[in-house]
């Protein structure tokens, strides 16, 4: 593994300054600043269409940006040094439907240069042991999403970017996955997880509340509730929206 000289362990996992993204004439992110500390699970919450996916894509380095810098683990986002250190799960499962679960993971493991035993390890982590030989196209939507997640866990990345990984999963599975995310963070990984389900917020170490391309809040769940005097994150979000009604995208 390459060790970038700029990537000391005290630096944040992600540092974003003045990020502007425009898509098709519209400004999606009008100028965003953000630090995400290492070894934490940070939840990115906000309504559908508020720019969550665009922000995550910028961190992975697949989003064309208009201004600003995105530094990930000490290197510019998307640089070659990061490609085996950052795992990314897109909202729609990005795996081969015509291959089996095992074939998918064996291929991605070979591309990453991950150990040969890695596919079995991640299949177990997402609870798909019984489906190693099943073609992905025959799995349910939730199972397919977990294959996509498993592919991102290959090679034990230091940073995991997960775009709505728990959509369509039953409550038990959701609980298990959030437990897995917490375990990964305890082992030193950094996770940035988006969701439009506010009740998943309590599972996170830190919360980012986003609306219309702006961050309304960046704090721990407890501090957020204390600051807004709200009883749950959904009410806190509403309180914050009322406090900043003028903040709309330029």
């Amino acid at each position: 593994m390459m060790n970038s000289p700029a990537g000391s362990a005290d630096d944040p996992a992600i540092r974003i300054t003045g990020l502007v993204v425009r898509r098709g004439g519209a400004t999606v992110l009008p100028g965003l600043d953000l630090d995400v500390p290492r070894g934490t699970v940070t939840g990115l919450l906000g309504p559908s269409g508020c720019g969550k996916t665009t922000l995550l894509r910028a961190v992975v380095g697949v989003q064309r940006t208009a201004a600003g810098t995105v530094t990930v683990l000490g290197s510019p986002a998307g640089s070659a040094a990061l490609r085996d250190r950052v795992g990314y799960v897109t909202q729609a499962p990005s795996v081969y439907g015509d291959l089996t679960v095992g074939e998918n993971l064996d291929y991605f493991a070979a591309v990453l240069g991950a150990p040969r035993t890695d596919p079995d390890r991640v299949i177990e982590q997402v609870g798909l042991d019984a489906h190693r030989r099943t073609p992905v196209a025959r799995l349910s939507g939730g199972q397919r999403a977990r294959v996509s997640l498993a592919a991102a866990l290959l090679g034990r990345p230091e940073l995991l970017i997960l775009d709505e990984p728990t959509v369509g999963l039953d409550p038990v599975l959701r609980r298990d996955l959030w437990q897995l995310f917490a375990d990964l963070a305890r082992a030193g990984a950094t996770l940035l997880v988006s969701s439009h389900v506010m009740d998943e917020a309590t599972r996170c170490d830190r919360l980012l509340l986003m609306r219309d391309g702006r961050l309304l809040a960046h704090d721990t769940p407890a501090a957020l509730l204390a600051a807004t005097g709200a009883s749950d994150v959904e009410s806190a979000f509403l309180t914050l929206v009322q406090q900043h009604p003028q903040e709309t995208v330029r």
């Binding site: 898509r23 697949v62 998307g78 439907g97 291929y107 591309v111």
Partner: protein, 247 residues
Amino acid sequence: MSAAARRTLATARRVLAQLRHDPRTVAMLLAVPCLLLVLLKYMYDRQPGTFDRIGPELLGVFPLMVMFLVTSVAMLRERTTGTLERLLTMPLGRLDLLLGYALAFGLVALVQAALASALTIGLLGLQVAGPTWLVFAVALADGLLGMALGLLVSAFAATEFQAVQFLPAVLLPQLLLCGLFVPRADMAPALRVISDVLPLSYAVDAMGRITARSGVDGQVVADLAVVAGSALLALALGAATLRRRTA
């Protein structure tokens, strides 16, 4: 083995595994050109000279078309399902990916060219003055060209409907101008110039020369080089269309 070679081979293995899960596509890839050649043989049953002239030329055209269709749709799927984006966030070079595809589909083109050549020369009794292996080599180069063009046009298609439309848009003009219908020398000067820059013309020229003359003609080798060079050029252009950052 270098990391790049490992990733290329893994990609080729993966593409072949996808084909293995789709036996109907494989059967059509291999059988359709053969069936069309059989049809051609019996179309010209009363004029055996015509089959000897057109047979080899179409022997090069059919693999080109089939490979074009299959690879353009395969690559388009890679783009639309998000797997391309995932791969580009991983340590996979654009060339690793394209060469992996080229290896896998090149292998299919090889089997397809071998089957079609053996069928036309063996069972259908096609008379070829030049060496048989050269017929096979040109058929293979045509298959590779079709594959490379298919990979390239997939960048300009947003849906599978559009991808399929590129067959008439990109290949039919080449087919009309390649000398199969009207000898290239007899075309209007403007058409002749267009025909001169289209790679399929060289593929058909090469086949024509092999049928007519014995031995290895220097001109055939030159034609073959143009076809192979065009395939490489299309692959390189295809690599340029694989963008890591998109809007």
